[in-house]
């Protein structure tokens, strides 16, 4: 029998293969990202507020909502033909199912962010290359927390009516700490502030990740109970 992580990787591989075939969620997220960035770019008045002041907030709003579009599909896939029952019957732990979904979501959201970041740089004329290392770190930390909590809540939301509406309603309160931390670090990176100013926010992001990943692993088992 596969180990928890091994089984998780098998499930993640299946989810990514299905997404690769349909590309529905990925293309929707990319279209959404491009539209949001374009609207914010043309709606702002550059004589009143500089791009570097506005950009961090817009970047993280865009990432969050684009990611949300993808998270919904994680468990919706399993409702098709009641495939979730076959998954629950397989000799793998529910932790494996969570890990598989979280890994697939991490790859999905990471890819969306990977495409969105250059678009963001173009629209807002923000030089991201000099701060790419720091930006990658903060994106990684915030995305892990986002995906960890999103995967857990999408398992809860999928069995409710209006699941696609329910996930953002459940999730947005949980996103306050990582989005706040990510915006604070990003704005300091763009302003070339010293690392010491960012360290507390990075610690917040890392702490949040640890808490939500551990909590999700502990309680995920019960989210699939009926």
């Amino acid at each position: 029998m596969a180990s928890a992580l091994g089984a998780g990787l098998i499930i993640a591989g299946k989810d990514l293969k299905l997404e690769l075939r349909s590309r529905t969620a990925f293309l929707s997220s990319l279209a959404f990202t491009a539209l949001v960035l374009a609207i914010f770019n043309f709606a702002r008045d550059p004589t009143l507020i500089s791009a570097t002041d506005l950009a961090p907030g817009i970047l993280w709003i865009t990432f969050s909502f684009a990611g949300l579009l993808g998270l919904n599909r994680a468990f919706a896939l399993e409702l098709e033909n009641r495939a979730l029952e076959a998954l629950l019957l397989a000799p793998v732990s529910r932790t494996s199912i969570y890990l598989g979904k979280a890994i697939a979501n991490l790859v999905f959201v990471g890819l969306v962010e990977g495409v969105a970041l250059p678009l963001f740089a173009i629209f807002f004329n923000v030089p991201i290359l000099p701060v790419l290392g720091g930006l990658t770190l903060v994106i990684a930390l915030a995305t892990i927390g986002f995906v960890a909590v999103g995967t857990l809540l999408s398992a809860i939301a999928v069995s409710t009516r209006f699941a696609e509406l329910m996930l953002p309603v459940l999730m947005l309160p949980f996103l306050v700490p990582p989005i706040t931390g990510a915006v604070q670090v990003t704005s300091r990176l763009f302003a070339a502030r010293p690392f010491a100013e960012m360290a507390p926010w990075l610690k917040l992001l890392a702490g949040y990740d640890i808490v939500v990943v551990v909590t999700a692993l502990l309680i995920f088992e019960f989210t699939l109970d009926q």
Partner: protein, 236 residues
């Protein structure tokens, strides 16, 4: 009767204020097949999902081969195969990819070979690369059976497997279900189709409002059973 392969005692399961299964008990030996009949809402599917370990009972025990079925026990779950009226497969994957995915989860030696072998046994070798979502209902059901039997389970659970099948596909399915018994697997079939169930079963039960109104070996007199079924469901 052979040594009990599946023993169920005092099974109870509710959803909120509704008791879907109320104190169901029975036992089956290897190679025996139980057909559970009942009207819609009798709790048949809930019973099957309890037997599969997908749902946790509020009370009662399920033992397979003498060992309790607990959700955490992967070894016990390996002994069960579930066939529903839906395929439990992914429409976007081919038949071979679906079976290979489940073969990997079950830790079968060579997942690709196991998947192709299962498809060959199901008579679907030429459809291996076809996406399940584009197959006919009969072919989908054969993929579903191949998926359920992939890991060679000793207990096979079937939930209304004839739903939506045409005559030809239903006849093919009857042949496959007969083979399950010849292979000495223990079968539990829930259905409201008396003809299909009686043909397969060694034991019959009538479930009404969550309870077994009747359980026992199938007698030769189908007409008498139909009368008892009509009375039980009318009174239930």
């Amino acid at each position: 009767m052979s040594a009990p392969s599946l023993v169920v005692e005092g099974l109870v399961r509710g959803f909120g204020h509704v008791r879907a299964v109320r104190g169901v008990s029975f036992s089956l030996g290897r190679g025996e097949a139980l057909a559970v009949f009942g009207p819609n809402g009798a709790g048949k599917t809930t019973l099957l999902r309890l037997l599969a370990g997908i749902l946790r009972p509020d009370r009662g025990d399920i033992r397979i081969g003498g060992l309790p079925l607990v959700r955490e026990s992967a070894g016990q779950r390996r002994r069960i195969g579930l066939i529903g009226h839906q395929t439990l497969c992914y429409d976007g994957l081919s038949a071979a990819e679906n079976l290979e995915f489940f073969a990997r989860l079950y830790g079968l030696g060579d997942p690709r070979v196991a998947a192709l072998k299962a498809l060959e046994e199901a008579g679907l070798s030429d459809r291996a690369a076809i996406r399940v979502g584009t197959m006919s209902r009969g072919q989908q059901q054969r993929v579903a059976i191949a998926r359920a039997l992939l890991h060679d389970p000793e207990i096979v659970l079937l939930d209304e497997p004839f739903t939506g099948l045409d005559q030809h596909a239903a006849a093919a399915l009857r042949g496959q279900l007969g083979r399950l018994r010849r292979e000495m697997r223990t079968v539990v079939l829930v259905t409201h189709n008396l003809d299909e169930g009686l043909e397969l079963a060694s034991h019959v039960a009538i479930q009404v409002a969550g309870r077994f109104a009747e359980f026992g070996p199938r007698s030769g007199d189908a007409a008498a059973f139909r009368t008892r079924y009509a009375e039980a469901t009318a009174n239930g």
